[in-house]
């Protein structure tokens, strides 16, 4: 059978914020660019982002600047972040947001006509550019429309709208191809008709998002099967920080069919409070030592902060997400949960109904339609949900380049930027900043190539055999293997972890890998979800193995990794990154330790000694003291 073949300079896999921004950049730099995405163009998971894009524009509080944002990001990630990424992110986010406005985005405004900015957990100042609570949709639509604008330009110039940038929608990539060490292309299939497709391209940008579909309770859509993580691993790249998974504190808990769907943090940013079944605002009991001086200790002070931020500290409902998720988990475990196993999130007693509808329109809509709850009249029930993976492809901060020549990654599939925990609002800005950088990185890599890497027919044959295998055997139903994986990860490698359980999970994943090799898909190749899932299983299992192996090794609790048997944060462990790779025979995952490079001098000097000593070792503190004395 004939395999459809296309030649491009840059192939971007994924059409969420990072993928589109990368593709726009590559095209703007004159590269012939393909965007390959599993869903329809404009449906990517980015649409689910609600709160906003964090950028220190200082429109609402002029004291904000990139240094404050940098500090907040490092604190949120418990100092495990790749500091160069955190620096670039804080510096470039404002330009990336302003650029969207020039492409037609319509953000909410301040009184003087600038882009309005809202408060969010872990951000010292109001910092999130937003559109009500549908910021992700605005972002994806703006980037989608920018792609269309470039296509219209190309149509005028070359008579072909798709001459320089083309979207291959409902198309899944199953393998990256290499010529020696370097990327030479990508192989996949059209979901619509099952036909196979081959991209001949020297540069691939992964922008495939996360891995949430390995968990039962998740805010992620079906697309989040860790494709990019797995493709990178299989191509020889390394993944870091895979043990750090963000459980968003507020997912819906009822009805069961929507369990896990996100309730935006803006509810708390705009005044919503968390209460247990005794009616108590319990977050005041959960302010950790490292944040003690930054958060209000009484309800009165917390409430005053909404109108007077200069003289009051923020309420603890706005602690970073990992803290709030753990607190909710503890309340429910202590028997102080709501009837359906969550806690109460109340905005109805805090804001007038009209204001709630104006500021949180999609939350109002979502609860009304899906749970029959009017959030202007009664509290919501919420609980933690698997939301985001901090870990991902290890990349060069400036270019998004992975270890494999020609391979780039941006957005959730890349690792390092958020350390052990991501702040809300830092994801949309991450997409824009590093999407652009990865697109530029790929373009300049292509410019520097002496010769185009070649695709070997053998690797295409192998990829083809792998892709068609599930259709050619009458095996187990793939849905059952998937459900069991989700249950395993949810129960044994969830918010709170311990060695025995993670070990048990690894055994289970090992057995599931066996079973996955035998799953079969009935029916034709035309839009066959059973076949698609059979192929996605490989990715979910590989990624789950990374998460569990790294979680077992890291003997401390930090951000999105909480060990019941190692509850403290260790400054020794802060210096170590866990780096996952593929075993030489390709059958399993190996993990090695890598030393985290020390922060650049001008950056570490942005912090107070009192704060640093909570995170860094005695040796590092001595170096810092010497540095400050100079």
């Amino acid at each position: 059978m004939e395999i459809e073949r296309h030649e491009y300079d840059v192939v971007v896999i994924g059409a969420g914020g990072a993928g589109l921004r990368a593709a726009i950049e590559a095209r703007q730099q004159g590269k012939r660019t393909a965007i390959v995405c599993k869903s329809l163009f404009g449906k990517a998971h980015t649409v689910m982002a609600e709160g906003g894009a964090a950028a220190a524009m200082g429109n609402v509080n002029s004291a904000d600047n990139w240094m404050v944002h940098f500090r907040d990001t490092m604190r949120g990630g418990k100092f495990l972040n790749n500091w160069r990424m955190a620096e670039l992110h804080a510096k470039e986010a404002p330009d990336r947001v302003w650029e969207l406005e020039a492409w037609g985005a319509l953000f909410d405004r301040t009184k003087d006509g600038k882009i309005s900015q809202r408060n969010f957990g872990g951000h010292e100042y109001p910092r999130l550019a937003h559109v009500g609570d549908r910021t992700g949709l605005e972002l994806i639509r703006t980037l989608q429309q920018r792609v269309v604008a470039l296509q219209q330009e190309d149509e005028k110039l070359h008579g072909d709208a798709e001459a320089y940038i083309k979207v291959f929608q409902e198309c899944t990539v199953t393998r990256l191809l290499k010529d020696g060490d370097a990327i030479s292309g990508a192989f996949g299939y059209w979901r619509e008709n099952g036909k196979l497709i081959l991209f001949d391209a020297p540069a691939v940008v992964l922008a495939t998002g996360g891995i949430g579909k390995s968990y039962v309770v998740t805010s992620n859509s079906w697309e989040y099967t860790g494709d990019g993580h797995a493709l990178a691993l299989l191509a020889g790249a390394k993944l870091i920080n895979m043990e750090f998974i963000q459980f968003h504190p507020t997912g819906m808990v009822w009805p069961p069919s929507v369990r896990g769907i996100l309730v935006t943090e803006s509810v708390r940013g705009d005044g919503g409070v968390l209460k247990n079944s005794d009616g108590k605002r319990f977050m005041f009991d959960y302010i950790p030592e490292v944040f003690k001086d930054k958060y209000a200790t009484t309800e009165e002070e917390g409430d005053r902060w909404y109108t007077d931020q200069a003289n009051n500290r923020r309420p603890p409902e706005l602690l970073p997400r990992d803290e709030v998720a753990r607190a909710i988990n503890s309340e429910v475990k202590a028997g102080r949960g709501s009837p359906q196993g969550g806690v109460y999130l109340d905005v109805s007693s805090r804001l007038p109904a009209t204001e709630i509808v104006r500021r949180l329109p999609s939350m109002h809509h979502q609860f009304k339609e899906l749970a029959d709850v009017d959030i202007t009249k009664e509290p919501m029930q919420v609980g933690p949900t698997c939301h985001y993976i901090m870990g991902g492809v290890e990349v060069d901060a400036d270019t998004g380049a992975a270890d494999v020549p020609g391979l780039f990654a941006a957005g959730e599939v890349s690792g390092g930027m958020h350390g052990s925990n991501r702040l809300g609002g830092n994801s949309l800005s991450d997409l824009l900043v590093f999407g652009r950088r990865a697109g530029a990185g790929a373009a300049s890599y292509v410019d520097g190539l002496a010769a185009r890497p070649k695709i070997s027919p053998d690797s295409v044959d192998a990829a083809k055999a792998e892709a068609l295998a599930p259709l050619e055997r009458a095996g187990e139903n793939p849905y059952e293997v998937h459900h069991e994986l989700q249950r395993t990860m949810n129960e044994l490698v969830g918010i709170i972890r311990k060695a025995e359980e993670v070990t048990e999970a690894l055994e289970a994943v090992g057995k599931l890998k066996e079973r996955a090799r035998g799953v079969g898909a009935v029916g034709s190749r035309i839009y066959n979800p059973g076949w698609h899932l059979s192929l996605d299983l490989r990715n979910m299992l590989l990624v789950s193995e990374c998460v569990a192996k790294a979680a077992l090794l890291r003997q401390e609790s930090r951000g999105g990794h909480t060990r019941d048997d190692f509850p403290g944060m260790s400054s020794e462990w802060r210096r170590k990154l866990l780096r996952c790779g593929l075993s030489p025979d390709g059958s399993s995952v190996t993990v090695e330790e890598k030393v985290q490079p020390s922060m650049r001098e001008d950056l570490i000097k942005l912090f107070d000694r009192d704060e640093l000593k909570k995170y860094i070792t005695e040796d590092e503190l001595a170096d810092f003291d010497a540095l400050v004395k100079e």
Binding site: K43, F107, R134, S221, S257, I526, Y527
Partner: protein, 253 residues
């Protein structure tokens, strides 16, 4: 709490197909898309359906439920009686690929025919100043999740393939209105709305508004005001006179 529901689902590919009957478990709080997923997991693994967010935010799972265009993820099973047979069919205006999945490329084609946002050349990023009240009109239309149910239900093209080339459909006529109402857009969109994108076909029956899952007032707030803008231009006696005297088309770019 749970019961067995009767479902009739359209199944087929390559231009042929039929309604198939299923009996399937329904639990409290579920929506139609959950039931479709249960069918996939238990009875019909190759049943094709589009979906993504399952929260009414992405607009992927558009389908016709008992003949009405709906998002599968936002249609609660509690809105039906337990003995009712629920019929699920693909959107009718677009060609079926398989089962509930249709070829919606018409919409992407139309999106590309609408000239993009055109800001003045002398405004730099970061310099935009707009008042909330001025952006709110276009913001309403930017709530659109592109489920394409408005285009699906619009009688201009629902059973009239021949109208498709000259009609952008409510979704993209609204996009023109959105850009026309953008405080910084300088392109002239009025003539092309009427002449190239078929605004005149719309006879404001409001079917699009009725099916919009985002409750956007497509007809009242986008299409009618756009029609008024076109009319103001077209029948303004001074513009008409100017065009006659100076032999130019001032309103055309």
């Amino acid at each position: 709490m749970s019961y067995k529901a009767k479902f009739r689902v359209w199944r087929g590919e390559g231009g042929e197909g039929k309604l198939e009957d299923f009996t399937v478990e329904v639990n409290e709080g579920e929506v139609v898309l959950d039931i479709i997923h249960r069918l996939q997991a238990t009875q019909a693994p190759d049943l094709a359906v589009r979906w993504n967010c399952k929260a009414g935010k992405c607009g992927s799972c558009s389908m016709e439920i008992n003949g009405r265009p709906k998002l599968g993820c936002m249609t609660r099973m509690s809105t039906f009686t337990e003995d009712e047979t629920i019929t699920v069919t693909p959107m009718r205006t677009f060609p079926v690929i398989k089962d509930l999945v249709t070829d919606v490329s018409f919409n992407y084609q139309k999106a590309r025919e609408i000239p993009s946002f055109t800001p003045p050349s002398d405004v730099k990023p970061g310099e935009y100043r707009m008042q909330q009240i001025d952006v709110e009109r276009s913001q309403e239309f930017r709530k659109c999740i592109e489920c394409f149910m408005c285009n699906n239900v619009c009688h201009v093209i629902r059973d009239h393939e021949e109208n498709k080339p000259g009609f952008a459909g409510p979704r993209f006529l609204m996009r023109i209105a959105e850009l026309d109402m953008h405080p910084y857009d300088v392109a002239d969109r009025k003539d092309s709305a009427q002449e190239e994108h078929g605004l005149g076909y719309c006879n404001i029956t409001k079917c699009c508004t009725e099916v919009c899952p985002e409750h956007i007032k497509i007809t009242d707030n986008a299409l009618i005001p756009m029609k008024e803008r076109v009319v103001d231009r077209k029948y303004d006696p001074l513009v008409w006179l100017g065009n006659k005297i100076f032999k130019r088309s001032s309103s055309k770019s």
